[in-house]
C-alpha cells in the first residue's frame, strides 16, 4: 500500500494517539489536583481566607478547605504532579513534532484549512444543521474532513492547546521568574489557574463531541483508519 492511498499519514496516527495518551493522563492527574483545592479565584492570589470566584461542590483531600463534607479524601497530589508534568512534556513534544512536520509537509493547508467556498454563511449553516440532525456522513467523507471538523481541529491545535500550555506555565513560579509577562498578561497567577481549568473544560467538550462524531460515522472504521491508516469507504462507496 502506498502512502498516497493512506487516509492518515503515519505521523498523524502516531501523534494522534500519543496526544490521546498524554491528554487523558493530564486530565486524570489535573482533576485529582483540583480535589486538593476545589476553589477558583481571579487575580494574583487566593486562599481559603479570600472570596473564591466559585467552588466546585466536591469533597477535598485537604481538611483546610471548607467543603461541607464531614470527611477528607486521601492525598494523591505527589504522583498526580509527577504524572501531570511528565504527560505535559509528552504533549508538548508530540505537538511540536506534529505541527513542525505538518507545516513542512503542508498538512494543515491540504487537510485542515477550509476552502474559501466552504466558509460562506450558507455552507456553514448547512453543515451545522447536518451535524445537529446527527446525519451520518456520506462515504466520501471518510477521505476528507468536513468544514466544521476543519475549523474545530484548527482551533484545538492552534488555539486551545497553546493556551492551556501557556496558562499551565504561567502557574510555575520558576518559569514566570524568567518570563513574568506570561502571568502578568493573564491578570495574575490565580487567573491563570482558573483559565487553565476552563480550557480543560473546552478540550473535554471537544473530546466528547469528537468521540460522538466518530461513533456516528462508524466507530470501528474510523478508529481503524486512525490506527492502520487504511479507510475502506472508497471501495464500499463505489
Amino acid at each position: 500500500m502506498t502512502e498516497a492511498s493512506e487516509r492518515h499519514s503515519f505521523l498523524v496516527r502516531l501523534t494522534h494517539w500519543l496526544t490521546t495518551l498524554a491528554f487523558l493522563a493530564l486530565l486524570v492527574s489535573g482533576l485529582e489536583l483540583v480535589v486538593s483545592h476545589p476553589r477558583f479565584y481571579w487575580g494574583e492570589v487566593g486562599n481559603v481566607n479570600t472570596q473564591p470566584l466559585f467552588q466546585i461542590p466536591i469533597p477535598s483531600s485537604r481538611s483546610l478547605v471548607p467543603t461541607g463534607y464531614g470527611y477528607t479524601l486521601p492525598d494523591q497530589n505527589g504522583w498526580s504532579r509527577y504524572l501531570h508534568f511528565q504527560s505535559a512534556w509528552l504533549l508538548v513534544l508530540t505537538g511540536l513534532l506534529y505541527v513542525g512536520v505538518g507545516l513542512f509537509r503542508g498538512h494543515f493547508r491540504h487537510a485542515l484549512v477550509p476552502a474559501r467556498s466552504e466558509l460562506s454563511a450558507k455552507r456553514l449553516m448547512s453543515s451545522v444543521v447536518e451535524h445537529l440532525r446527527f446525519k451520518r456522513p456520506v462515504p466520501e467523507e471518510a477521505w476528507s474532513y468536513n468544514v466544521l471538523q476543519r475549523i474545530s481541529y484548527l482551533l484545538v491545535v492552534f488555539l486551545a492547546f497553546p493556551l492551556i500550555i501557556w496558562t499551565g506555565l504561567a502557574m510555575s513560579p520558576s518559569f514566570v521568574s524568567a518570563f513574568p509577562a506570561a502571568v502578568n498578561l493573564l491578570g495574575g497567577q490565580q487567573s491563570a489557574r482558573t483559565l487553565h481549568f476552563f480550557l480543560t473544560g473546552a478540550l473535554v467538550l471537544f473530546l466528547l463531541v469528537h468521540v460522538l462524531m466518530v461513533i456516528l460515522a462508524g466507530f470501528w472504521t474510523r478508529v481503524r483508519a486512525m490506527i492502520t491508516g487504511r479507510a475502506t469507504a472508497r471501495k464500499e462507496g463505489v
Binding site: R39, S87, S174, Q189
Partner: protein, 252 residues
C-alpha cells in the same frame, strides 16, 4: 496492515540509533552541568529531568516577581502545622534566645548561630508570592538574612552542589541546588510583614525559596549542611518530599 518497506526499516533503525546515542550524550552533559534532579530515577524520572533541566537553563539567575506593598495579602494563610512539642514551647517561652542554627558540611569552618546573630546580619526584604502545590497562594513581605551571606560567613566550598536544610520538625528536611542557595532572594527569614515571623508561619526561622512552591520554604530551620553529594542524605532522593511521593524540584 501496511507493510514496512526495507527502506523504512533502515530509516527507522538509523533514527532509533541516533536517538539513543543523542540521549546518552545528553545524559552525560546534563550530569556534568547539574541538570539532573536527585529524584531522576523511576517512572517519572524523564519528566522530572526535562522539567528541571529546562528550568535551570532558562531560570538560573532570574528573579521571582516582587509586588507592591498594597498587594500584600490582608489575611495570609499559615497552613496547618503539626504540634511542635514541649521543647519548642520552652524555646518559644524564652523568646527563642536559645534557638540555634547549625551550619556544617563542606565549609571552611562549621558554625552555630543564635537568632540574635542572624538578626544582626545584613538583611533583605522582598514582597513575593508563596504558592502552595495545592493551588492557593498569598503575598507577603519576608525579611531575613540571604542564605548566600550565611554560606559566605562559614566559607562554603566552591565545589558544593546543594544545601540541605533541616527543620525542628525532624521529618521535614529539604535541599536546594546552588542556583537557589546563592540566589539573592533566598532568605533565612526571621521577619514577615514588618514584624517578627509568627510561629504559625515558621517563626523564628524559615527558609524562603521564592522561585519554588511553598513546601521548599521549610519552617523552623535549625540546621544547614553544605554538600557535593546530595545522594548521601536520607534515601538519596534529595529531600523528604520525594520520599513522600512529591517532586524534589518544586519550581512548577
Amino acid at each position: 496492515m501496511s507493510k514496512l518497506s526495507r527502506r523504512q526499516l533502515i530509516t527507522a533503525g538509523a533514527v532509533t540509533a541516533a536517538g539513543a546515542g543523542g540521549l546518552a550524550v545528553a545524559a552525560k552533559l546534563a550530569h556534568r552541568y547539574g541538570l539532573v534532579p536527585p529524584d531522576s530515577g523511576g517512572v517519572y524520572g524523564p519528566g522530572e529531568t526535562l522539567t528541571y533541566a529546562a528550568q535551570r537553563l532558562l531560570t538560573r539567575h532570574s528573579m521571582a516577581r516582587e509586588f507592591a506593598r498594597s498587594q500584600i495579602s490582608a489575611k495570609p494563610l499559615q497552613n496547618e502545622v503539626a504540634p511542635l512539642g514541649d521543647e519548642f514551647k520552652r524555646l518559644q517561652a524564652a523568646g527563642f534566645k536559645d534557638w540555634q542554627l547549625k551550619v556544617d558540611g563542606l565549609v571552611a569552618e562549621p558554625k552555630t548561630f543564635s537568632l540574635a546573630e542572624l538578626r544582626s546580619f545584613p538583611r533583605r526584604s522582598h514582597i513575593t508570592m508563596i504558592q502552595c502545590e495545592e493551588g492557593w497562594s498569598y503575598i507577603g513581605e519576608w525579611t531575613g538574612v540571604p542564605l548566600a551571606h550565611v554560606l559566605e560567613v562559614v566559607g562554603a566550598a566552591p565545589l558544593a552542589t546543594h544545601v540541605v536544610y533541616h527543620s525542628f520538625q525532624t521529618e521535614w528536611w529539604e535541599s536546594v541546588d546552588m542556583a537557589d542557595a546563592l540566589h539573592p532572594q533566598t532568605l533565612l527569614a526571621h521577619g514577615m510583614n514588618g514584624g517578627e515571623l509568627p510561629v504559625g508561619f515558621g517563626g523564628p526561622l524559615r527558609m524562603r525559596v521564592t522561585r519554588q512552591l511553598g513546601y521548599k520554604s521549610v519552617k523552623y530551620i535549625t540546621h544547614l549542611t553544605v554538600t557535593d553529594n546530595i545522594k548521601q542524605f536520607g534515601k538519596g532522593l534529595g529531600s523528604a518530599s520525594p520520599e513522600a511521593g512529591y517532586a524534589w524540584f518544586a519550581g512548577i
